[in-house]
């Protein structure tokens, strides 16, 4: 990752006329992600009351590092525009839509943005994150965005991630996001008009931070219909051959352990509003399957609400799967995530998957996706039995006030036993369950 050399960043918090606060830091030896992390920390420290205005949302409108040549080196200046909560849909949660782009297919990006214009749910901001090491590309992208006829109709900020790859811009977006929830849309995919409404509607039914998941249709393109000797920018979007619905299956945590059935635009995750250190980021060790790993990490921490509605279209190009480098990268990423699962985490003890397959007399060295899938039914049956056992315990304990201390202790002991035995426990809404998990350091 390239470094900002001999530079500092000065951040001004202002509205059209007044500057409320200023922050300056030396970023000569930090990478782009660290820059945005520090900016985020600074924003959280601002005492809004002292500003004298009821400003609650800060919209990043000028995230382009504007170069200012000064005698002691190059400085970057970033302006932040303040916004009244009342202007932006008070009462409903704010969503941040992170769109990563490489800046070389603006017409597709434009259509992705247009698909956001007609959202039923209005309280959202768009963070367009350019992944590039070229300052000129960022200037070009900003010029392009500003020239769009609808640029003044949406809350849209362009952010520069001074690094290449698929994962870095997502993490930059997470750091810059202001929303209560964050969701993602790739620059060649489309949101349907009910996309954000599906997410926000599900929040109304929960009282705690929750991972939200909805369904996505898949538009499969006929790559053979294209002339392959033109560059990516000139090439028209290939014809849609058919629309498939493999990403409309109901949520299954266990099935997700065997593979990814939730494209990135199908999930929204709560953004930790209190402690930046607690935020879950995308794993930068992989370039593919990053959404799978991210979803697993989030639903280890938060409960998940599955929304039975289709809210987006994933444009799938067959050419991707034909690319040998991509196939090898995918294989590496897939194995990496699978190893993480097997190493254990909040709910799954270390080596549980290997142990289980050994107990089934499976050869773990040749463990493959198909074998996991083959065992899906058996494992799910076991899981079901465990859950029934757990449910029977929890069902009479919902109202903790009627529990005697002894009853509570007994239940906890039983739950602990279950927890040790069970590879996975699905019930997490119960307050007793939550407190026990916390006590057992599972959170």
């Amino acid at each position: 990752m390239s470094k900002n050399r001999n530079s500092s960043i000065r951040i001004e918090l202002c509205d059209e006329e007044t500057q409320f606060s200023e922050y300056e830091d030396d970023f000569s030896s930090v990478d782009g992600t660290e820059v945005w992390r520090r900016i985020n920390v600074f924003l959280k420290q601002i005492d809004l009351d002292n500003i004298g205005k009821s400003l609650e949302i800060f919209e990043l409108t000028e995230m382009a590092p504007q170069k200012i040549l000064e005698s002691n080196g190059v400085h970057y200046k970033i302006k932040l525009k303040c916004m009244n909560r009342s202007e932006s849909g008070a009462g409903s949660p704010l969503f941040t839509v992170i769109i990563r782009t490489t800046g070389n297919r603006n017409e597709r990006l434009e259509r992705a943005l247009i698909s956001l214009l007609n959202q039923d749910f209005k309280n959202f901001e768009i963070l367009l994150v350019l992944s590039s090491t070229s300052e000129k590309m960022f200037a070009d992208l900003r010029a392009f965005v500003n020239s769009l006829w609808f640029s003044s109709e949406v809350r849209l900020a362009t952010v520069w991630c001074n690094a290449l790859g698929r994962v870095a811009p997502l993490n930059t977006g997470l750091l810059c996001a202001k929303g209560d929830y964050v969701t993602f849309l790739d620059d060649d995919d489309y949101a349907l008009s009910n996309w954000l409404q599906n997410f926000s509607g599900a929040i109304a039914s929960v009282d705690a931070p929750t991972v939200l998941r909805q369904q996505v249709a898949c538009a499969n393109s006929d790559i053979e219909s294209l002339e392959m000797n033109v560059n990516d920018q000139e090439r028209p979007l290939p014809q849609v051959k058919d629309i498939s619905f493999e990403y409309t299956q109901p949520w299954s945590f266990f099935k997700t352990l065997s593979g990814n059935f939730t494209p990135i635009m199908a999930m929204a995750v709560p953004r930790n509003l209190t402690d930046l250190g607690e935020m879950i980021f995308f794993d930068s060790n992989i370039e593919l399957a990053e959404d799978w790993d991210f979803l697993l990490a989030n639903c280890m921490r938060y409960p998940l609400v599955d929304i039975p509605e289709i809210g987006a279209v994933y444009n799938r190009l067959e050419a991707n799967s034909r690319n040998l480098d991509g196939a090898s990268e995918w294989e590496y990423s897939f194995r990496y995530v699978r190893q993480k699962i097997d190493k254990g985490n909040a709910l799954l003890r270390n080596g549980w998957l290997t142990d289980y397959l050994q107990s089934q007399q499976r050869d773990t060295h040749t463990l493959g996706l198909k074998e996991i899938e083959d065992n899906n039914d058996l494992l799910n049956q076991q899981l079901l039995l465990r859950n029934q056992e757990l449910e029977s315990l929890l069902s009479i304990k919902e109202d903790e006030r009627v529990l005697t201390e002894i009853e509570r202790k007994k239940t906890e002991i039983q739950l602990r036993k279950l927890l040790r035995r069970s590879p996975l426990l699905m019930i997490r809404k119960n307050s007793l369950w939550r407190s026990l998990m916390k006590e057992c350091n599972y959170e």
Partner: protein, 319 residues
């Protein structure tokens, strides 16, 4: 043949209970798209409002007109619902412009949509923009753009072709499948159906998660079945008509209402000559990837989902 550079454009939009903001957004996108036309082209948009009460006030029209740089707006409240086909015909009647754009009010154009449509436009054929976020899965020839039928969501039509065909068939197909029918009649008359591969238009469509198909209202579902049967009758597909009637009798709870409506509208059908139909089907079959006509009907009608798969339909036509 290239289009004449000095020709003008008229855009026809029929409103029915549309939200003002939706119409304004469509207009702003259209204005931006007109501004990218080279050479500069005069454009006028005509609204015909079939709603129960006016969707736009005079103040609204003035307000949005002031925001337009390249577009002249005409708005008329009709105080009756004459439906889409007759509405478009009324708006386009005696139009002096060379080209007509039939446009849906719930659409949003990309800035280059019109310029890309005109790249394909040759004054002889019909040209449509590709829709998103849910694109029709009908194939088109990547070189010529030829396809089996046109959608009327964003369709560029030479005025003389529109007038010679007497526009849409408002008597038999007031709202649905009128675009398929129009493009087939145009094909018979010698004007092909084209897709401009780089022209895109947003069309507000959603999926029904339960049926895994494009969501339709109860009325749309009913009208789709009626329209499908009427199309089969109009184009003399008698065997298919009988099969469909039989299937609907067994599977559709609103069969009697459908049959009644079909009988009512059938009296107004102007049947199409068999030879021409045959040649139309053959030109579709030989021209591109094969027929996928009526796919729109299938997509908008969950009950037909299982009966009219693309493959089966292709085989049916080829046999």
């Amino acid at each position: 043949m290239n289009r004449k550079p000095d020709s003008n454009l008229m855009i026809a939009v029929v409103l029915y209970e549309n939200e003002r903001e939706q119409v304004f957004r469509m207009l702003r996108s259209l204005d931006a798209s007109v501004s990218q036309l080279e050479p500069v082209r005069k454009a006028k948009i005509k609204f015909g409002d079939c709603s129960k009460s006016p969707s736009l006030t005079a103040t609204d029209v003035d307000k949005i007109q002031h925001q337009m740089r390249n577009l002249e707006i005409e708005y008329e409240f009709w105080d009756e619902n004459i439906h889409h086909s007759l509405g478009i015909n009324r708006l386009c009647n005696k139009s002096e412009e060379e080209a007509l754009l039939v446009l849906n009010p719930d659409s949003i154009l990309s800035p280059n949509t019109l310029s890309e449509l005109f790249k394909k436009y040759d004054g002889r054929n019909l040209v449509e923009a590709r829709q998103f976020p849910i694109e029709h899965t009908k194939p088109f020839d990547p070189k010529t753009g030829i396809t089996s039928w046109n959608s009327g969501c964003c369709l560029l039509v030479p005025s003389n072709i529109f007038n010679s065909l007497d526009g849409f068939d408002g008597e038999v197909l007031p709202n649905y499948a009128n675009d398929v029918d129009f493009s087939w009649r145009a094909k018979i008359a010698g004007s092909d159906s084209l897709v401009a591969e780089n022209a895109f238009v947003y069309h507000d469509k959603r999926f029904d998660a339960a049926t895994k198909s494009v969501a339709v209202s109860g009325l749309e579902g009913f009208e789709s079945k009626v329209s499908y049967l009427l199309m089969l009758r109009k184009f003399a597909c008698d065997a298919e008509y009988s099969k469909t009637i039989e299937w609907l009798y067994k599977n559709s709870s609103d069969f009697n209402s459908i049959k009644k409506m079909v009988s009512l509208r059938s009296t107004k059908i102007k049947f199409i000559d068999n030879e021409l139909i045959e040649s139309t089907f053959f030109s579709i079959r030989d021209g591109v990837y094969g027929p996928s006509n009526l796919y729109q009907l299938r997509m908008s009608n969950r009950d037909f989902k299982f009966r009219y798969s693309r493959k089966n339909h292709k085989e049916r036509i080829l046999n």
